[in-house]
Symmetry: C2
Subunit: 191 residues, 2 copies
């Protein structure tokens, strides 16, 4: 029917990430050799809920560094799901980027509003700087953190400075027999 | 019998600590208001294994800052257990210190050897800087990390730089109904 208003919802942002016990997602130079090594412990077919999580989101929002890491994988890790690359500096994507990838820019509030106008309801937020930016803006709803059994001492952190404490509500934890521990939290000052 | 050699064992060092999800043990100024606030969620009588852990150690090794924090509590938190305060700067302890407290100094290896000559077998290592120092020296055997459901953004970290990765062996995880998640790890390059 004509006349039906275009409704946009505010999408929720969800983080799903693996870190060392000391909170790093990569070494300082971006190297994730320690992650690959820890993944050798994981039985074939076990993805620690990643595919179920991917099935629950309708888009991704990542930073340029995460885009570079994802691009370096043998297989593009996000399938057909629309991926928005947040960048202040990139003018265009490399021609090798999958067709599911688009650039996006703006303040965190503007970006979330923009994702809403595109009809997205749940967006997977991936990458350290992007996660930190949207957490600090109070725009992240959910964190699923998988802790790998290793300390690497330094590198790129998943969490950064915040303007205020963020209370979390623990939703659940699964300890895998290969030593990974995955906890899920809802985020919010009233969580 | 005379002539029996004095045998000293090398004590194991164990960490038992609560942190925010972003890995802090205190705010930058040492404030642990967020920890006290999270502890309001904990039912009376629930100590998340602390007294059982305390019963498993025969001494504590803490830094000067942790000594100051412990001294500020209404009740000295370590009971009658011998406590060694590692300090390069303190010449003597305040007269208000419990009689169970002594100063200790030296390199990490020297300190562990000294604790061994005193007959200690399992030592509770408490405090951020001390934990970081002995982890970096490869002298920590066990970490029990209780993660509180809050992000505080900045402060004093439990983990710091390392000369090399430390592999961990996950021993067990308990998710408490009030949202704390406690994981225990054995530490070692061959863990």
């Amino acid at each position: 029917m004509s006349g039906v208003p275009l409704t946009t919802t505010t999408p929720t942002l969800a983080v799903f990430v693996g870190t060392s016990l000391d909170g790093f997602i990569a070494r300082t130079d971006g190297n994730i050799d320690w992650l690959h090594e820890a993944n050798l412990l994981v039985p074939a077919g076990q993805d620690c809920g990643f595919s179920a999580f991917m099935a629950s989101v309708d888009a991704l929002l990542i930073g340029r560094k995460t885009f570079d890491v994802a691009s370096s994988f043998d297989k593009w890790p996000y399938g057909e799901t629309p991926v928005y690359v947040l960048s202040r500096t990139l003018k265009s994507l490399p021609s090798t980027a999958p067709s599911s990838v688009a650039l996006i820019s703006g303040t965190p509030d503007e970006v979330v509003a923009l994702l809403g106008t595109k009809g997205h309801k749940k967006v997977y937020l991936d990458g350290g700087e992007t996660t930190q930016l949207f957490l600090a803006a109070g725009l992240v709803s959910e964190i699923t953190l998988t802790t790998l059994p290793v300390l690497i001492g330094s590198g790129r952190r998943i969490f950064g400075p915040l303007p205020n404490d963020l209370k979390l509500k623990h939703i659940g934890t699964e300890a895998y027999p290969f030593g990974f521990v995955q906890s899920r939290y809802a985020v919010g000052s009233d969580a």
